[in-house]
Structure formats: structure tokens, C-alpha cells
């Protein structure tokens, strides 16, 4: 049957799954030792405090145990993970100066085109280092800083601020992989939006992990000052290998008084990836954080962006979708702490399981004694596409304040036979009917995404749904 019925062009499976060699790349030995950590630090010519921070984090890492409540990470052998792979280039601010393999990678992912079309700035990381960073003049004239975090760390103007904020929202003691991140972090972006500055176009960082058996540990630090407004987009992908790769990035977001930050992610790591990423934001009075999160890739995922509403009247919205297919165990969700009066949080998530995939929605909503007159609502819907898959919902609520309203609703189900019959009776094939329902199910999330990403997400769903029947 002709497959031209959809408005979205079919995408090539090889879109994400291509790789290049590592000729001329620097690759440190696998494993985790103080020597490796010192070597990473030395290569970066970091301030002394950062080296101490790394070594302390490594100690914490060694002392902590891995999570015992989520998907198994037994397939992840840290002694075989290469924590640092430096591509054969320095950071550039024009695509043409990049080596061909690196440039071709981002071309094929459509990053330069997107930059021309609708982005105010782009950062691109290849393995352990940023290889490209550029921002439009208009944005830099507004006083906005968007650079590599290591670059900012070497700038006396920004070093004190980074030292003040770095890994304070996500301390290395938080969990084993936060400690790991503290020890071996490399690359990532620094964004500073001054008071009352509103950027109309988004900034985007794209993370590409090309190296086999390696880890990526980028650190993203964003400070949105009082009254300012930013939309930040993060994309990630990698080619598929038959050994484990690890992503343990950290994202720390500071949202000022009456400031607004939207953080959108489409995660499409290859299915050999262990994605143990940590993202956290804190909102001051009247500030708002909006998360839009799509998780499609990875073999194992642990991902729970956290919002700490510490200022009065601060708000958080979280819109997420997770699609777990064959061989995937994606444990995703979010955490919210209502820690001030009049705060509010709205969480809406969708998850889809197919082909033996496991998807777990995990959340925590904590209302502290200070959360007078606050409200939180959690809505989570799961769709099971077959009986080989799993879909679990594990929401926790800890309420310690009288005048709060916390609502929670969860449903798990499948596509009804009646719906499929109705669509088929109008001439739509079963596969297309199911894809249509799944796209409709995902619609509340895709409509929160920038158009290009919504199209990409629909394509990913279509790709996942192909061959889902029979």
C-alpha cells in the first residue's frame, strides 16, 4: 500500500544511526581513578577548586551504592566506560571550520539549518567537548551570554558566579551518578540572561556521542535573572553500538523573580545508552519553569527533572512523553517541591510501551510546611500497545501542609478495538489507525514543542509504530 498518506515525510532510519572513526581523537583510558580525574582537569587547565571538587566527588562516588529501585544498570561496567574523548578540533564559531566528520554529523542532524531558521544561538557538543558555539549578535548585544561552561570558567568575570552556583542544586552527594558527574564532567553550556531581558528565539544545545563505549558528562548551567525570559532547547543522539554507553549530564537552572524559563528536550539516544541524567531548577518569587520532555531513546533511562519552588507564587509545569520500545526500560517522571506559599505545579505525562519495552512513570510531589495555599496536579496516562510490554506508575506524594490541594489521576489502558474498527471502516489501515491514535495521545506534548521538534517527534512515533502490527 502507498505510504504517502501522512503529511510528514518518512524519515530515514539512518538519521541518527551513523558514526565516524576517532582518528586524531584523544581518548583517555577507561575506568575511574584519581589519576584519570587529574588528567581531565589538567587538560582543561581548571582552577584548583574545581580539581578539588572533582576529587571529592570521586570519593563520594566510590562510597555510594547504585539505585536499587529502578531498572537494572548491571550492564553498565564503569571500568569499561571511557570518561573522556576529545574530538580532533577546538571549539569553532562557524560550521565550515570544523573537521568534515564532525561537520557532516551536525549537518545530517539538521542543526545548522535549524540555527539559520529559528534559533538565536547554538552550542554543539561532540563526545566530551563543545565543538561549536555561536549566538546571534542581537542576543549578545542584549547582554545575554551563551558560551561553553569551561570557557566561562576561564573568564574572570564569570568564574565567581559559576563557583557560587556549580553543583549546588545537584550536589555530588545527591546520588551515585551525580557524584560521578562531579568527578568527570566535561563540556556543556553556560547561559546568563540579564535582568528584564527577553529573548524571542530559543537557544539550543545539541549533544552527540559518537565514541563507542564512552560516557558523556556535560554540565549545563543557566541563570535567568529577575524578570527575564528564555527558551532553551536540548537535543541528544548517538549511533548504536553493541556495548554500553553512558550519559550522566547535569542541568542546573536558576530562575529569578518573575522570570520565566522553558526547557525543552527531545532525547533520542541510541538503544545501547544508559541515560542517567539529572536536571534541576529552582524558582524565586513569581518565577516559572516549564519543562517539555520527550524520551524516545536509550536502553535504560533514569530521568526526573526536579522543580524546587522556593519563592512565593512560583510555578512549574511539566509536560512529558516517554516511548519505550523493544529492549528499552525507561524510568521517567519528575519531582516537585512546593516550598513556599501560593506555589503551583501542573504535571501531565504520557507514556507508551511496545514490543516488550518497559516504561515507568515515577514522581514525587512534596509540599513542605511552608506551602500554604499551594496546589499541585498530576495527570499521567499510559498506553499499552501489546501484552509483552510493561507500564508502571509509581507516584509518591508527601504533603505536610494543611492548606494545599493536591490532585492526582492516573490511567493505564490500550487502544480500544472499537476505535480501531471505526477508523478501519473508513478505509484506514490498522497500522495507520494505531499510529493515528498514538499521535493523538502524544498531541498534548507535541503541541508544546517548537514546530520542527513536533515534526521530529511525530516521525519518531511513526518510526516506532512501523511494523507494530502482526
Amino acid at each position: 500500500m502507498a505510504k504517502q498518506h501522512s503529511e510528514v515525510a518518512d524519515i530515514d532510519r539512518s538519521l541518527y544511526d551513523f558514526r565516524y572513526g576517532e582518528e586524531g581523537f584523544e581518548r583517555l583510558d577507561a575506568g575511574l581513578t584519581p589519576e584519570i580525574v587529574r588528567e581531565i582537569s589538567a587538560k582543561k587547565d581548571e582552577p584548583e577548586w574545581m580539581l578539588e571538587f572533582r576529587l571529592k566527588s570521586l570519593e563520594i562516588y566510590k562510597s555510594m551504592s547504585a539505585p536499587d529501585w529502578g531498572p537494572s544498570i548491571a550492564g553498565l561496567d564503569m571500568d569499561n566506560i571511557v570518561t573522556y574523548v576529545k574530538p580532533n578540533t577546538d571549539q569553532k564559531s562557524d560550521w565550515e571550520s570544523l573537521p568534515d566528520d564532525v561537520k557532516n554529523t551536525f549537518d545530517r542532524l539538521g542543526i545548522p539549518q535549524a540555527e539559520r531558521a529559528y534559533l538565536a544561538g547554538v552550542g554543539a557538543q561532540y563526545d566530551s567537548e563543545l565543538v561549536y558555539h555561536n549566538m546571534q549578535d542581537t542576543a549578545s548585544k542584549m547582554g545575554i551570554v551563551y558560551s561553553g561552561i569551561e570557557e566561562a570558567l576561564h573568564d574572570p568575570k564569570w568564574e565567581p558566579l559559576i563557583r557560587e552556583k556549580f553543583m549546588t542544586l545537584i550536589p555530588p552527594t545527591d546520588h551515585k551518578f551525580a557524584a560521578l558527574h562531579g568527578a568527570v564532567w566535561s563540556g556543556g553550556s553556560f547561559v546568563y540572561v540579564p535582568k528584564d531581558t527577553k529573548l524571542d528565539f530559543p537557544l539550543q544545545s545539541y549533544f552527540r556521542l559518537n565514541a563507542k563505549g564512552a560516557g558523556q558528562f556535560e554540565h549545563t548551567l543557566i541563570i535567568v535573572e529577575d524578570g527575564a525570559d528564555l527558551h532553551f532547547i536540548e537535543g541528544c543522539s548517538a549511533p548504536k553500538y553493541n556495548v554500553a554507553n553512558l550519559h550522566a549530564g547535569a542541568v542546573e537552572l536558576f530562575v529569578g523573580k518573575n522570570a520565566h524559563l522553558r526547557y525543552s528536550t527531545i532525547e533520542n539516544w541510541s538503544k545501547n545508552m544508559y541515560n542517567l541524567n539529572t536536571k534541576r531548577s529552582v524558582c524565586d518569587e513569581g518565577g516559572s519553569i516549564e519543562w517539555v520532555s520527550g524520551s524516545f531513546g536509550s536502553h535504560v533511562g533514569y530521568l526526573y527533572p526536579m522543580s524546587i519552588l522556593s519563592g512565593r507564587k512560583s510555578t512549574c509545569t511539566f509536560t512529558g512523553i516517554t516511548f519505550a520500545g523493544q529492549g528499552q526500560n525507561l524510568d521517567t517522571g519528575c519531582k516537585v517541591v512546593l516550598a513556599a506559599p501560593d506555589t503551583s505545579a501542573a504535571i501531565e505525562t504520557k507514556s507508551i510501551s511496545k514490543g516488550g519495552g518497559v516504561s515507568t512513570f515515577r514522581s514525587s510531589v512534596v509540599a513542605t510546611e511552608k506551602a500554604e495555599n499551594s496546589a499541585a496536579s498530576v495527570s499521567c496516562q499510559s498506553l499499552m500497545l501489546d501484552a509483552d510490554s510493561r507500564s508502571d506508575t509509581i507516584p509518591a506524594m508527601d504533603i505536610r501542609c494543611k492548606n494545599v490541594d493536591v490532585g492526582h489521576e492516573a490511567t493505564i489502558g490500550r487502544i480500544s478495538d472499537d476505535t480501531v474498527f471505526y477508523l478501519m471502516s473508513r478505509g484506514i489501515s490498522e497500522e495507520e489507525a494505531r499510529t493515528m491514535v498514538v499521535n493523538g495521545f502524544a498531541d498534548p506534548v507535541s503541541k508544546e514543542l517548537p514546530l520542527e521538534y513536533a515534526v521530529e517527534m511525530n516521525n519518531l512515533i511513526k518510526l516506532e509504530m512501523e511494523g507494530a502490527i502482526g
Binding site: 536499587d68 529501585w69 529502578g70 531498572p71 537494572s72 548491571a74 550492564g75 561496567d77 569499561n80 548504536k240 553493541n242 556495548v243 545501547n272 536502553h299 535504560v300 519505550a324 523493544q326 529492549g327 526500560n329 524510568d331 516488550g356 519495552g357 518497559v358 515507568t360 515515577r362 514525587s364 512534596v366 510546611e369 499510559s382 499499552m384 500497545l385 501489546d386 501484552a387 509483552d388 510490554s389 510493561r390 507500564s391 508502571d392 506508575t393 509509581i394 507516584p395 509518591a396 506524594m397 508527601d398 504533603i399 505536610r400 501542609c401 494543611k402 492548606n403 494545599v404 490541594d405 493536591v406 490532585g407 492526582h408 489521576e409 492516573a410 490511567t411 493505564i412 489502558g413 490500550r414
Partner: protein
């Protein structure tokens, strides 16, 4: 003061735990090891004595007829088989803790350790059989009275045979002040088409810890209704686990509670849907006052093979004081596509339409919250068919100053 030894038991653990930092995964129960006989068990006419361990025997026998359910629930292999050197079989999803659990004929709601402790410390152990087709005219009644510095525990197995029906009433109370453990462990087997109604009432004073442990097994078309009412006890633990093994079997659990003072209430429910078209409803409602804390864990497990099953959990909690702490963790686990699992919770205030109605009749919000607490006592007294339980509720209400009005029993 009598010398006592105490033990700390892990209990009411989640089968699929979450972040340890939240401190919701399980509870600890401090128990005294000396045994006191504060137990009365009344078995009415029509019921017959059965052999020790009748529940486990019946459940294992029925379970053996369904070998499919007794297999591992997930086709995922353990990790050491997935791993082959450093290569990962990426076509198999990494296992989650819950998938490692082997299916069992029955589980204790409070967990194995607590269930075994209760059985070992029972002052009276009875096993009762309700013969096929018999509808018991009177309930099986357990009164567990608290004794100072000791554990007063009942152990009861009830096997309700095909087409039979029975009611089991359990009341925990403390005729005299003191400190100790009051508990029961129930095993209820409902054979095909059987119907069992179980009601437990916690009406003890704050010196006591109550432990209310239940294991259920349901065969085809069996129906079990459960009502747990917690009105008093310094620490109360309620754990119920049910295996809905039979086709079209149904469990309906109603939980009602009021927390006072510094009481700590700890509930753990686990209903495993294994038979086709099985249904469950868990409905919890309560009021928390003063400085009390409460945790409700509710897990619906829609296991592979339970096509057509439906599980629903609802919870509403009224927080009537600044100092209360409420934890809720309503879990749905699902490995079957042709099912429906639902959950809804409202935590904080009563529903606006309820409050509006009451306020339109001149009742303030505070008065309305008090009304809910008082009404829970009154409702418990009206619902129980057992005169002694009614007295225990009235006595507790008088002791802690709940202005409940009770109609005198006939």
C-alpha cells in the same frame, strides 16, 4: 514494670520501591515479644473446624491448578544472562525490581516477616471451614484486647467453600490503659462463587500498636469485600494482599480513618490481578487532625494473563491541621494490554461541591472538617453488626473527646 524484650520488624513494604529519601518504601514496627491472651474468637454454627494451615493448603492447591500464573510474570531474563562479557543484549529491556518477584500463591499484606511474627505470637490460632453452599447466618468474630507490656494476637484461617458466604469481624480495643501490641493475621480463601465480607475496626488507645494483617486468595467468581476502619491506636499498621487468581473474581476494599494527636497510621494494600476479567476497587477516605501522620500505599498489579481486568484506586484525605503529614503512593503495575487501571486522589480539602453544600447550610469549613471526623466514628458504629465493637467505638470516642452520637443498640 515488667521486663520485656522488643524487636523491630520491617513491614508494609512496597513491592516496587521508589526513592529511599522519601521514606515511604516500608515501615518499621516495634513489637514486644511476650504473649498475652486477650483473644476471643467466636465461630458460629454452620462453620466447621479445619486443620491448622487451612488457608495456605487451600490457596496452594488452587494455585497448583493454574501453572501459567505461577510462572515468572515477565519474559525478561535476569541480568547475568543478558550480559555476555561487556556486550549487552539490547533487545531485552533491563529488569525492574518488581519483575524479579516470583509469583506466589499468597502474600501477607504486612509482608512475610510481620506475618510470620504475628502467627508465631498468636495467643489463639483457629482455622475455620465454611462448607460449600452454606451461608453463615452469624459472623465469625475476633476480639483482640490490648494487654500491657505484651502482644495480644489472633491468627485465623477461613476457607469459604464453593458458593458459600461468610462474614469475619475483627475488633482491636484496649479495655485498660497500657502499652503493647494488638494484632491479627487473617488468611481468607474464597472458593468459586464464594462471598466473604471482612471488617476490622481499630479502636485502641494511644499506648497500643495495632497490626492488622490479611492475605486473600480468590477463585473463579469469588467476591471479597473488606472494610478497614482505623479510629484509634498510637501506631496502626494495616496490610492486605490479595491474589485475584480466579476468573472474574472481585475485591472491594473500603478504608476509613481518623488520625488524632500524634498517631501514626500506616496502610499497605497489594492486589494482584491474575485471572481474566478480575476487578478491584480500593476506596480510602480519612481525616487527619493534630500532629498525626499517615501513609497509604496502594498497589494494583495487572499481571500478564489478566485480560479484561479492571482496577481502580481512589483516595481522599482531609488535612485538618497545620501539623499533619500525609503520604500517599498509589501504584499501578501493568504487564497486560487489555486492562484498565485507574487512580484518583484529592489531598487537602474536601471537595468544593461538598463544602459549598455544607456551608450553604451554615457549617463552617472547620466545623465541616470536625464533622467528617465525628461522622467516621458514627459511621463505623452504624456499620458494624457487632455490639461489642460498637461499645469499643463509643468508649474510644468518649476517651479522646470526639462528640459522636451513637444510637443505643437494641
Amino acid at each position: 514494670m515488667v521486663e520485656t524484650t522488643t524487636t523491630t520488624l520491617r513491614a508494609n513494604a512496597l513491592i516496587s520501591p521508589t526513592w529511599h529519601r522519601l521514606d515511604m518504601n516500608e515501615a518499621e514496627v516495634d513489637v514486644v515479644d511476650s504473649i498475652a491472651d486477650g483473644i476471643e474468637i467466636h465461630v458460629p454454627e454452620g462453620a466447621q473446624e479445619a486443620e491448622f494451615g487451612a488457608f495456605a493448603t487451600a490457596a496452594l492447591a488452587a494455585w497448583a491448578t493454574r501453572p501459567d500464573q505461577a510462572k515468572t510474570q515477565n519474559n525478561t531474563q535476569p541480568d547475568d544472562e543478558i550480559l555476555n562479557g561487556s556486550e549487552v543484549n539490547l533487545d531485552l529491556a533491563a529488569t525492574s525490581p518488581v519483575t524479579r518477584d516470583m509469583p506466589q500463591a499468597f502474600e501477607h499484606g504486612m509482608g512475610r516477616t510481620a506475618g510470620e511474627w504475628l502467627a508465631a505470637h498468636a495467643a489463639k490460632t483457629r482455622a475455620v471451614r465454611v462448607p460449600a453452599g452454606t451461608a453463615l447466618a452469624e459472623p465469625i468474630v475476633v476480639h483482640a484486647h490490648g494487654k500491657n507490656a505484651a502482644a495480644s494476637v489472633a491468627s485465623l484461617d477461613v476457607v469459604v467453600e464453593e458458593g458459600a458466604s461468610a462474614q469475619v469481624l475483627v475488633c482491636f480495643d484496649a479495655p485498660e490503659a497500657g502499652e503493647g501490641v494488638i494484632g491479627s493475621t487473617l488468611g481468607v480463601f474464597a472458593d468459586a462463587d464464594a462471598h466473604v465480607d471482612i471488617q476490622t475496626v481499630h479502636a485502641a488507645s494511644d499506648g497500643f500498636t495495632t497490626m492488622d494483617d490479611t492475605a486473600l486468595f480468590l477463585d473463579d467468581d469469588a467476591r471479597i469485600t473488606v472494610r478497614h476502619t482505623v479510629l484509634g491506636a498510637g501506631k496502626s499498621f494495616v496490610g492486605l494482599a490479595g491474589n485475584l487468581s480466579g476468573k472474574r473474581s472481585d475485591v472491594h476494599v473500603t478504608t476509613r480513618y481518623v488520625g488524632h494527636g500524634e498517631e501514626a497510621l500506616d496502610f499497605n494494600y497489594l492486589l494482584r490481578h491474575r485471572g481474566e476479567k478480575t476487578t478491584c476497587l480500593m476506596d480510602a477516605q480519612g481525616v487527619l487532625t493534630d500532629e498525626c501522620t499517615k501513609i497509604l500505599r496502594g498497589t494494583i498489579d495487572l499481571a500478564c494473563g489478566c485480560a479484561g481486568a479492571e482496577g481502580t484506586e481512589t483516595e481522599s484525605v482531609i488535612l485538618a491541621d497545620e501539623r499533619v503529614k500525609n503520604n500517599s503512593i498509589p501504584i499501578i503495575l501493568c504487564s497486560e494490554d487489555d486492562v484498565a487501571g485507574n487512580h484518583g486522589a484529592t489531598i487537602g480539602h474536601m471537595r468544593p461541591e461538598q463544602l459549598n453544600y455544607l456551608m450553604s447550610r451554615g457549617i463552617s469549613q472547620e466545623a465541616a472538617e470536625r464533622l467528617f471526623a465525628t461522622a467516621t466514628f458514627e459511621d463505623a458504629a452504624i456499620t458494624t453488626p457487632d455490639a461489642y465493637t460498637r461499645q469499643a467505638i463509643a468508649k474510644l470516642a468518649a476517651e479522646i473527646g470526639v462528640p459522636a452520637q451513637f444510637d443505643e443498640a437494641e
